[in-house]
């Protein structure tokens, strides 16, 4: 894709639209998996709809309602302590970036870790949370911390936090359902062909099985692609908020030099962080959650 300059409002609007499309796509994918399973098991579509859809919706609802608590507790984060000067300055920075973005001030959390990292979570700007590691507070100067917070604030403004939350939930659900279905088919051998008329159905059956096998991989890849793309966008938007791409570029350089040796939290929430707490991507790969740091720094420096 050739780089082309675009007005910031335009791409935020487009991003919000994308968010909607992606969420719908994920939900449709989930429903398709359920229908494919129903088909293989020989259940009438109406029955699949009555049993499968409520379960899927309920699952999404549960992941949605508990996502914030589960991310915070997985990271072992705690609310900021205003008595500590470093942490007080962090909440100041968050306030400033919220003002720059014209958003309500998110709640500020701190995660005890030697690594330099930060993440944002929540469903919408009014219940968003920004969390930074103690390592980030100690090792980043004011300008660099501002760059990092600007990046996280952009994730909030672009509604990336919702996409991440929903996709994490749906990707998990698809993986789980597909696994259960494949096991069930293995034990029952599916529904015998006798119930069905004509040989064409065998082909449909095979397609349905292949679809179930591929769906988890497919959903995961989509999710990773979104994640990487949104990192670039958040970098650019963050630089727009601080009017200083160099701050974030320097912070990313420090993150690059500081190998992750103290990861906390679960791997499912890794894409929420400013850089993957578990590993550093050196090359562009369809399996990585974040684009390579070198490329992100290069893009920031070329603004």
């Amino acid at each position: 894709m050739a780089p082309q300059p675009r007005l910031i409002e335009d791409h935020i609007r487009k991003n919000k639209f994308d968010t909607l499309v992606i969420c719908m796509f994920m939900v449709i994918l989930l429903f398709s998996v359920i229908f494919a399973i129903g088909y293989i098991l020989g259940a009438p579509p109406i029955l699949t709809m009555m049993i499968g859809l409520p379960i899927a919706l309920f699952y999404i609802f549960i992941t949605y309602s508990f996502s914030i608590q589960s991310v915070i507790s997985a990271a072992g984060a705690r609310p900021v302590n205003p008595q500590n000067r470093e942490e007080k300055l962090l909440s100041y920075k968050v306030e400033e970036m919220a003002v720059a973005a014209g958003l309500p001030t998110p709640k500020v959390y701190v995660q005890e870790s030697k690594d330099i990292n930060a993440f944002a979570t929540g469903h919408k700007p009014s219940d968003a949370i920004i969390c930074a590691t103690t390592g980030a507070l100690q090792q980043l100067n004011s300008e660099e911390l501002e760059g990092v917070i600007g990046h996280e604030m952009s994730h909030i403004r672009n509604r990336d936090i919702l996409v991440m939350t929903v996709t994490v939930g749906v990707v998990g659900a698809i993986a789980l359902i597909a696994e259960i279905a494949l096991r069930m088919m293995f034990f029952t051998g599916g529904r015998s062909g006798g119930d069905r008329k004509g040989g064409g159905n065998i082909i449909v059956l095979v397609i349905a099985i292949i679809f179930i096998i591929l769906a988890p991989i497919f959903s995961r890849l989509t999710y990773l692609a979104i994640s990487r793309r949104r990192e670039y966008l958040a970098d650019a938007d963050g630089a727009y908020l601080t009017r200083n791409p160099e701050g974030l570029a320097k912070a990313l350089e420090k993150i690059k030099a500081d190998l992750p040796d103290d990861p906390k939290g679960s791997k499912t929430v890794a894409p929420l962080y400013i850089s993957n707490p578990f590993k550093r991507a050196l090359r562009d790969s369809i399996w990585s959650t974040h684009p390579p740091l070198d490329e992100r720094i290069r893009r920031l420096r070329s603004m």
């Binding site: 675009r6 409002e9 007080k88 791409p245 603004m303």
Partner: protein, 187 residues
């Protein structure tokens, strides 16, 4: 007869679409305009907050910096200018004056080790820097909002309706010379 019906329906459809578009455009104009007013209110809150911090700072500094009368007076003068400013641009100019005066004060404070060790002073310094940053970011947000509003009411076909609504272009706040430039964003 059928043809008339079809033409009638198409005309009706066009009218409905134009009306719907107008409603959504109208709401957007109002929303953007409110955002500008809200952004200004934000700046105002921060300006007041900063002005409120100054007497505390003066109180803390007084015992240490008696010889720096000129520096202290410049701060007090700038503060009252902020308090009495009438228009947004006047407020911003007075605020820039205050920023300059405070910068001098903090630079001078460097040569007073006792003062620099004072917890109260350190806290006030942090907080004043914080409000100053917030002021410049709210001004940035104000100008961003003004730009979006102006773009909305000046581009075709919106400008036809904007004229009908009597909406005029808004003024951005002048940014002092030291401010940072907008980076060129490309993807």
């Amino acid at each position: 007869m059928d043809l008339m019906l079809i033409i009638g329906l198409i005309v009706l459809l066009i009218i409905v679409v134009v009306l719907l578009w107008f409603f959504s455009y109208y709401n957007r104009v109002i929303r953007y305009e409110n955002r500008i007013d809200n952004a200004w209110a934000q700046i105002d809150v921060q300006l007041k907050r900063r002005a409120d911090l100054i007497p505390n700072l003066m109180e803390t500094v007084k015992g240490y910096m008696n010889h720096e009368r000129g520096t202290l007076e410049a701060v007090t003068k700038a503060r009252s200018a902020v308090m009495t400013a009438k228009s947004p641009q006047e407020s911003m100019d007075a605020n820039n004056m205050l920023t300059g005066a405070l910068k001098t004060l903090f630079a001078v404070a460097e040569s007073y080790p006792d003062l620099k060790a004072n917890q109260n002073f350190l806290q006030l310094q942090d907080e004043l820097t914080h409000t100053e940053d917030k002021i410049s970011y709210s001004r940035q947000h104000f100008n961003d909002s003004v730009m979006q509003f102006n773009n909305l009411i000046e581009t075709f076909p919106g400008n036809i309706f904007a004229n009908m609504m009597g909406k005029k272009e808004r003024q951005m706040l002048q940014i002092p010379e030291a401010s940072r430039e907008v980076p060129k964003v490309s993807f």
